[in-house]
Symmetry: D2
Subunit: 138 residues, 4 copies
């Protein structure tokens, strides 16, 4: 991985380049139109979900950070990232810059002073949110 | 975004820190157990899929890189990345390092000399793959 | 499967009951809170996506309806349905009735006279849609 | 919905036919190749996930079966089912029969006598499962 100050390399760029080289060496570029890469991303998201599906919510973090799940989790998170970076690459999106801008936009949309301590809003369950805000600890 | 040589900042770290600050300011950490963040990631993957679902495969790339889809694509790719980075953060995974290792592992599993030009293998459609390898251009 | 006129059994009810019996015999009900079943559904959707991800769009239907993919496709579609029926069961939703009502509602929202022959609308790519309507054959 | 004994109609067949008529009236068949329908299914799965993502696991069932979430849940479950039935239709799979066969197959794979009361197995977290089997109530 990029070692920050020493190399000055952005890790998303490094991952993008490693994924590009991987595809080029195998002549796989031709299979990777956007909808196909999107489905591959969905496949990896499914594998990540499977690792945690039956874990009790309250113990999921603990179990997922211990072996035997720990290594599998790192692998599946990686697979999702690799396809996400590939898709961004094919769609000419500077993913790192876009994500930082998106966090900024979200900050303006959900001002801390207004939403503090309430569940992240979703238009459809405003009422449910009121219940939740009384004292949820997931 | 990290400007590489100048700042030496890894962008995944920068996104992780911005997402952490965002949650802390809103006191939203308490809602974000791993299974909940995973479902949020699934929600964003669904929004990304919706942008491209009905596009003809052969024109998807062109249409997705032009407005009005271009901005929406960057936003949805970003949302997926933000939740992915958040999940990795909560599960103590160094996502950038893990992804680079995973590409290396995949390279050993699928040697270029063996798989070159054939569709990425999936055990279940080996026969289908033979058809495909004859000359697919997606 | 329900044989229609002879048995008068709704197949969604039959699947729901078979899934209930399956869980009860294994004492698995306790693991299946809604968010866990949702993640299991996501896992199966991922497996279904993997079967088709690298197929050329124009040949996907043909390859997916032939062996070796045919049996795998039926299995994965089934897995998605089983978890969907399970989730509806746990959330007290009459899935068959709800789906028929939803098709009716969609019919009112997208009158055939207005949308005929144009790509299913998605607010975000209205402009792209105009391009597409000129003569898409996916 | 099919009223069972009176009509003897299978509801999956009825939903399939209603979805077919819906597409035919709008001349939308041409957009719905398997990979596109698959992505539409992913989009709907994402919307369903969004409804429950931040709900505390222990209160999800209660909140999802009350308004304002109740109606939204029925709608999103329906959307997933409609695309699933559409995909099965296009791939010539008798979804009801396949699902009942799959439950039977799963029963043979996971005999009740062996797995009773233990978390549904996933090869990757066998050790975690041992912890869980001691007395989980999600």
């Amino acid at each position: 991985m990029a070692t920050g100050i020493l190399t000055g390399v952005s890790d998303l760029t490094e991952i993008r380049d490693a994924a590009r080289a991987f595809r080029a060496e195998r002549d796989w570029e031709k299979f990777q139109d956007p909808k196909s890469v999107m489905l591959a991303l969905v496949g990896e998201v499914g594998e990540l979900a499977e690792l945690m599906q039956w874990l009790p919510a309250g113990r999921a973090r603990e179990l997922l950070t211990e072996e035997p799940l720990r290594t599998a989790v790192a692998d599946e998170l990686s697979d999702v990232l690799i396809y996400l970076v590939t898709l961004a690459d094919k769609l000419d999106v500077d993913l790192g810059a876009a994500a930082l801008r998106k966090i900024e936009k979200s900050g303006e949309k959900h001002p801390a002073a207004v939403v503090r301590g309430r569940a992240p809003a979703s238009a459809t369950w405003m009422t449910g949110q009121q219940h939740l805000s009384e004292g949820t600890d997931v």
